[in-house]
Symmetry: C2
Subunit: 252 residues, 2 copies
Amino acid sequence: MAEADSGGVRSVQRAIDLLALFDTDHPSRSVRELVDATGLPKTTVVRLVHTLEQTGLLWARGDGRIVPGTGLLRWGELANRTWRLPEQAKRLLADLSAASSGETVHLYVRQQAARVCIARHEGTRSLRHVVHVGEEMPLWSGAASHVLLSDADGADVAAIAARAPHDDWSDALWQRVRRAVADGHAVSHGEREPGVSGVAAPVFTGSGRMSAAVALGGPTIRFTEEAVAGFLPPLLETARALTTLDCIGGTA
Amino acid sequence: MAEADSGGVRSVQRAIDLLALFDTDHPSRSVRELVDATGLPKTTVVRLVHTLEQTGLLWARGDGRIVPGTGLLRWGELANRTWRLPEQAKRLLADLSAASSGETVHLYVRQQAARVCIARHEGTRSLRHVVHVGEEMPLWSGAASHVLLSDADGADVAAIAARAPHDDWSDALWQRVRRAVADGHAVSHGEREPGVSGVAAPVFTGSGRMSAAVALGGPTIRFTEEAVAGFLPPLLETARALTTLDCIGGTA
């Protein structure tokens, strides 16, 4: 029974991993490609594809290619509805960008070992920081990550730090997280990508739990100490207003 | 091994069924609600939710509610990209509506025992036929279904007919499907919903396989024999043009 159960979780994971092989670069796949990419036996892949076809998550196009199924249209719509910000919140992000020399604003939530961009207001500068909605960024780096890890314990932070391409990142990350808690915001320069800086502040739920990080991102050359000092007041004001709206992940 | 395998497929099915419990009327759920709705033991539900959270398909909002996860944002975008028609094809649907007294045009594909609307051009009449993109309709009724079943064998059609709320629908459905093949189009009046009529024609893939059905739908009172005779030439022309474009389910 316990074994069948763990087999079950493993199968769900496999099915999800299989779906994850479809992306912008691979909008369609053949069974052969799926076998090669997963390393699973062909019989297992065929069975998984069959199950996913039955439920509308995959669709056999008729030219031997398999594509994301129509069932995902419905879930995509549902996810959009859950994560789409109310107009009032979108306006807050736009106002923050305008008040911060036209830098790009992103809103991130934690998703396991990643932060996911759930909303953005693209800046007006020609050199700008671009992260798309739905895009996952590593949680071991960046001001938004330090903010999102504010309520994480040492073991959690250590596990995240272990994913960084640096030796002994655990202490450094922990210090950054503690500092974000103490300051009520975080600033980072080129932690993951040289020349990219960020300033982030926490958004809380109605019950005071960490909910999201609102962040300004742009080239380090424009994120001088003076510029950051100017960004902070509108950023903190925006974070407070988003906390009051309490709309991250929907309200229904 | 065989047992673990079938347990695996069952688990995938359960996970998908669990996700399907989130819809427009239920954008968030508690574990308690999921237990009640699935009839599964709480331990099983908790394990499934945990697996789905790990992979970003579900998200715990922090107020005890579980919502569709950010991972679905990416898949939704991917499904949209796969199923979004090129501008040229959208224009064909709009032109067909204009040439057919402003009736609504839908494009359906077969998805197991259902037909799913993948595109539409809403009509201009105040009483109009509305099926949303991503919505599933039963395959046992309607002109679009008869067209989509053109390449199905007797056993397939019988299995679909068994889902109808009529006794012995198998022969009736088979006759309608054969007639659609012979005529190259199908017409239906009030088969599922009294007072709703449809006219549909087949769209084929480049290799000549059934791909989709393009359909005009509206109130029976406007779908007189004379009106349908007028709808047919532009409908068949549109179906041929969509066959030439060969764009159903993406092209990449």
